[in-house]
Amino acid sequence: MNALRRSLRLVFETAQNALGRIFPDAWNPLLNLGALGFFFYWVVTVSGIYVYAFFDTGAAQAFGSVETMTNEQWFHAGLMRSLHRYASDGLVVVMLLHLLREFANDRYRGARSFSWLTGVPVLVLVYVAGITGYWLVWDKLAQYVAIVTSEWLDKAGIFGQPIARNFLSPEHLSDRFFTLMVFMHIAVPLIALLILWVHLQRITKPRINPPRGLAVGTLLSLLVLSLVWPATSQGPADLLEVPADIGLDWFYLPLYPLFETLPGPVTWGSSIALLVMFLAIPWLPPMRRASPARVDLVNCNGCARCFADCPYSAITMVARSDGRPFEREAQVNASLCVACGICAGACPTATPFRRATPLHPGIDLPDLPLAAIRERLHAASARLTERPRIIVFGCGNGVPLSGLDSPGVGVVQLACSGHLPPSFIDYVLSRDLAEGVVLTGCAENDCHNRFGISWTEQRIAGERDPYLRQRVPRERLRTLWAGPLGRHRLEALLETFAAELSRLPSLAEERARRRRELAEAGDD
């Protein structure tokens, strides 16, 4: 499973990097798959409502009304029909890519299995909605879909009378069956939407809208496709003739030729096995979960910064339980915590300058406490023998850091870039542990823990608590968000950064200059 994940991740990273050359980072389609799924869903909904206004639901009238839309009302209803079809296909594409990408990035196990489990029924429901939609046109494709679907359902052996008999001859066809299909085609997407709402419950600030530029580009391209290559019907259904050459929608119906020919036990058995496998994937094998973040009430003042920064809604603020004069305290829901450490990075008490008392912040990771990170930092700095000395802070999901240590470069690994309190950067430079600091991690807009990069950048820019202090010389700090394929970029950055640092005055000289400036300002 690991090898499969790694190979898939490599494919996605390569594609992302390629798209990153032509799209602005925020617009990269592969970094917006979930949001694009929602976008397609809304396009399908709006175009579906429009088309429904012109659609006759009777078995005898359905085909004619769709033909009228396509041929006589092509500039509005026909266009909407095509948009409805192509956006539905787009939805399947981004949904499957989203699923594969989350699998490749190992974001489906442990605390994240909830999103996976709630996503699988949505996948099934989207397919049901699409298949019932094809049924409604009542052309030759609809006839094929209706017959193969009902024959497949009959093979389950749970229906009293074969459903497929409803399509035996024109005399057997009933409007009531059509009404049922219309009902399903409307109800199923609504149920899917409800489950999508549940799907997003365990993540903070979910991105459900793609960036405007990407949305406009996607919609425009769908519109152009709908105008240039409009969706058409495949001749009226005729139950006295077998649909022969069928233009299948391979996004929705790729298994239909198999369903039609293979025996019932095989198709039902493999369908159920596939569904069970999808549902069981988070436990194949289960994730070895790191210990969840732990609150130390002695140092927690209930400031709620960890609550605001947690990407998984794993922290809640509850009434104070220790009698100290604060209104609230942080509480960690262990089942939601992925141990990313972003909460520790947000804690105002997480400062490495504390030497008189042990470094125990208000919230911390038991498996990788900030005190241990400070120790590793000291050890890495002590090994540096070549100037300029650079300390690289990086996460385990981004640029690979193994073997990067050298006489001039020391590496300190974090759980996530957002795990690092900004005061550590100040600490490195003010305590003369290195001449420069590099922060690196996942690719831009693709943080494994969703907000690690954003929060780090905002903390450095002084836009989000805790701020990186103004006194930290920014020319001695570099960030690189490059992902697993960014090793060459990191090496190149280290080379140029070292050259730049060599040209800067020493840290001692800078501190002396600053003291002089402060003294002069005081004299004035």
Partner: protein, 168 residues
């Protein structure tokens, strides 16, 4: 990369994606049935005769029943299996005994069978026995038909309409 090249790149990306969507939305064409074949679809729901005919209960039998369940007749709910045979040009292509449906065997038996046959002129003979006899069929219908390429010929059975119905 210049902005112009990036925009061109984006346009190419969108074009490739929507062309892919447009193409696989209806292509490649799937040949569901060869052009030189037609289909015979035999399907019906029909209940065979009851295994045991209804019989009047004797006074003693009625007296033995609990007071709330006393009735004049007793009827077995279970039905007999149905035998169906389809003969195409003197060749038996289907001959099967269909068990009644339902857990108690008291529901109609169902048939839904498809046969791909060469196009052209054929003589079809279809028979059904629903009373448990082995030496004869209760219903029998014959049809000489010129099957067109990809024609679907459904055959239904409705006892109240006299037997088999061919939809042409």
């Amino acid at each position: 990369m210049t902005d112009l090249l990036r925009y061109v790149g984006q346009a190419v990306f969108y074009a490739v994606v929507v062309l892919g969507i447009g193409y696989f939305s209806q292509r490649p064409i799937y040949e569901h049935i060869p052009p030189d074949k037609a289909q015979i679809l035999l399907s019906f729901s029909h209940g065979g005769a009851r295994v045991e005919a209804c019989r009047r209960l004797s006074a003693e039998e009625i007296a033995r029943l609990p007071p709330g369940q006393r009735r004049p007749n007793t009827c077995s709910r279970r039905r007999l299996p149905i035998r169906v045979q389809l003969v195409l040009d003197e060749t038996v292509i289907f001959d099967q005994v269909l068990e009644p449906g339902g857990l108690a065997g008291d529901s109609p038996a169902h048939a839904y069978e498809k046969f791909l046959v060469p196009t052209g002129r054929h003589r079809l003979l279809v028979r059904l026995e629903d009373r448990g006899r082995t030496d004869r069929f209760a219903y029998e219908s014959e049809l000489v038909v010129d099957l067109r390429p990809r024609q679907n010929l459904p055959i239904d059975f409705k006892a109240d309409k006299g037997g088999f119905i061919f939809y042409l």
